[in-house]
Subunit: 195 residues, 6 copies
């Protein structure tokens, strides 16, 4: 089945890639055991690859008032609205692992309003979905509501920026038709996957 194309666009050979990109790909493979297809799909455009993953890391890997699991909830909830298979499946796997919860990702992808989350996380996702689907209407009242749940202004930037970054990511994955690796579907479902 893995003969199915990874991307609608050409996927370069590892050997052809600039060294920094090849190294990044080798690094993720060593860490995860496989190369997530989004790396291969974006490698067709090295400059965009570098900017995309630099942006990703600036939001998803740094210190933040949001846990890494909460950040993945934002990705999964907004990617669900954008109907992006790649991001729902790949980040759903990461969410399961980060939260050590095999159920949460499928809930958040389908309907975050009825998922097993706290009311603080519900407020976080309400805001993320608003930024994702109607950012033009974001205003002071939204900020106020988040502050009441204990979010700092820096947290609010993080929530909105993750939603905004995956607005880009979802559109790219849907346009490129990036195929999620088979590995993602099962990751984190049986409680013994590494983080």
């Amino acid at each position: 089945m893995q003969e199915l194309p990874i991307s609608r666009f050409p996927v370069p050979e590892l050997a052809e890639l600039p060294e920094d990109i090849r190294n990044r790909i080798i690094e993720v493979q060593e860490k995860s055991g496989f190369v997530p297809n989004v790396f291969l799909a974006f490698a067709h455009r090295p400059d965009e690859f570098r900017a995309f993953f630099a942006y990703h890391d600036a939001l998803m890997e740094k210190e933040s008032g949001l846990t890494k699991g909460e950040r993945e909830m934002i990705v999964v909830a907004t990617s669900g609205f954008n109907q992006c298979i790649y991001c729902v499946v790949a980040h759903g796997a990461i969410l399961r692992i980060r939260e050590k919860n095999p159920l949460l990702a499928d809930q958040v992808a389908s309907n975050y309003r009825k998922a097993d989350i706290t009311s603080r996380q519900r407020a976080m996702l309400d805001f993320a979905v608003k930024v994702s689907t109607q950012a033009y209407d974001v205003g002071d009242a939204d900020m106020e509501l988040l502050r009441e749940h204990g979010f700092t202004d820096e947290d609010i930037w993080d929530i909105g920026a993750i939603a905004a970054f995956f607005a880009l990511s979802n559109r790219m994955a849907n346009m490129l038709e990036v195929r999620p690796n088979d590995e993602f579907y099962l990751l984190g479902r049986v409680g013994r996957d590494k983080s």
Copy 2:
């Protein structure tokens, strides 16, 4: 975690239930190894329980030009649009089992247009989603398109009727907040579950 409520409404004890309903529940438990929560949630209303499952069986269990797996695709695709966690998770499990494919359900729930399905199945799901979201606009051209893909008129009724039945089912599950059983999330993912 299974202490979380199964339904927003009262869930009767098995012993309190009319005999036919109790028997149906025991039967499904013996077959599946657990009682899907939708049975317990609907048991609060015995007459609606009987009609609901009679309708379900009339569409999903009978002989049809659609395979049982294709019928589950319709359920999962339309339930995804209706943001119904219960139906996406429970019928996603059944779809994986019916099709012996651990990947398909998550794809169809997120974006059936980019799932690993045939063009005939794509036409089937386009129609099902149209019935689910804009039945008022269904017309002769839709029928014609399906016939070109080899569907008979009886098949077309089946596709539309399943979409219509789960329009009901999704709304009930969302209103009742029926919680999917934990078992569903993993079923059919590792290729060794029974049908």
Copy 3:
């Protein structure tokens, strides 16, 4: 004009039908003076016919905290949103008769927010329309609002279940193109029709 087809699908002869279905049809004809076309359209599928009308009766004929007129308001309001001619016309007639009000059905079908109804009925229809069009967003606040208007939890189930059932019914009628009987259009308009 009545030469126009009743359904896009075949309509069986009464003599060909299973006895229970034939009897049900004869019974409704004796009561109403004509056979509503939805009975003939669904008779093409006896098992679905039985489940459909059993479900209908379980909601619309039983004792309830909602009057029969209020239940018809729910049908007419949600069928208006679903653009279902059959249900708007047929249940509009029943609504006029139940409420002995020749004006209400046309108002509720066009815009229930500006119809001659009480504020309690407005809350009821707001909830019914929410279940019909965005059940995924139904939550505790909706329940609370209905309770403030004096609805019990059983009433709330009834409101939502009727909206959900006609989500099914509207989609079937639109897919089948069930034609409302000419009789419905005038019923209850001149204040002397039987209930």
Copy 4:
């Protein structure tokens, strides 16, 4: 029941009105047997009254390639989408009378796509609804389609202009909450009303 307010805004006494407006109102009363409430509601603003009815007459009373019945179909179809009780009920009555058809108005108001109309009228209403709901997307292909159904360019202007005028009218009636006269509901339903 007619104690219910005719408009959310003040309704002037006939005696207080400028003579031309009073005469117009008396004239319509003599012709129709009652004063449609839209005349009384708009009389609060004499200059707007004059412009509104001048515009109305320029479109609805003049010679046109569209019959008067067809023009009323446009009003009823687009007013249905705009959820305007006044226009659906009042112009539904006029449509029944113009077409000598007691069924058509309820069909067109609910779902013109499945109403008893010709394919030429279907094309006319498709265009009218497009102008009403997404005029920004009207283009050459729409014109071409209408010409294929035999509409002249002047007819096309008429279709679009009626849809545009009732976009105004529907919004005013909904903002003012103009109540349709009880008389409209029954007009044209029993085949013996005057034209």
Copy 5:
């Protein structure tokens, strides 16, 4: 470039026009220095021309609790939602001139919620946009909110009526493809244009 057509429909010669229309056009040319194309496009239909501009003047030229600048804000905000180039460009110019503010029109056309306006004007535009896009849902609470901002009931009529009139105007301009005069684009941008 001005060889591009002014309207999709025929544009009459000034000499062919009825005298009152010709005079009106000459008058606007003398006042503005050019003839806005909407006058030429509507001149194809003299009766509609007269009603259209009479309606326009009744709302936009009369005494009102709204300043002329505020009325233009309503036009620009609602025309932005309706994607009407003519009205955004032409009334954007008038708004810049009326408010002696070269920035405001582009802000209001893009997203009035983030424009440099007062909270009273924000409430005004919220209502105008509601009348423009969902008048069926306008109710007492909307009136109350406007009254809290100091608007009288006559002001409220004005706001809604301007939104309703430009619902018509936007649809006509889009159907006719009326081209804005080149002059409008620069008017009021450099702070020295006449009012």
Copy 6:
């Protein structure tokens, strides 16, 4: 008026910034004569600043089958749909300069379908808007259509990637409430601005 805040979040002093970011800002100021506020707003987050502008440059500054003017059309059209004042105003200015056309930006921001563009550019913007608003539905037929207009696969990536990047950018600008510099509003309108 320029006392109005540039961003909802803190804006750092130039002296506090990392050297590479300060240099980039000084460079743009020297080239443009002022510092576009988006640079100052993003400077609050240096890592995101670097990734954002690296991504921007990778798409907007490189060699491409699309002219720089066409790329700005994509930005303006999609930013109009996203109701982003900053991007409409700032990139509208750049579009006027790139295309040496003072009218085009306002047209494309309001309704690109009726703007003064070629049919090839219309196809380009149709695709860009589809990626921006419904990327989940992008498929082979969209690619085929673009190829018929002479776009290469690399061009198609560019169109979609620009639409995707500004999906991010518009959401950030709306969340941060980045205020466009006053200078942008007039740039390119009078035909003598530098490129």
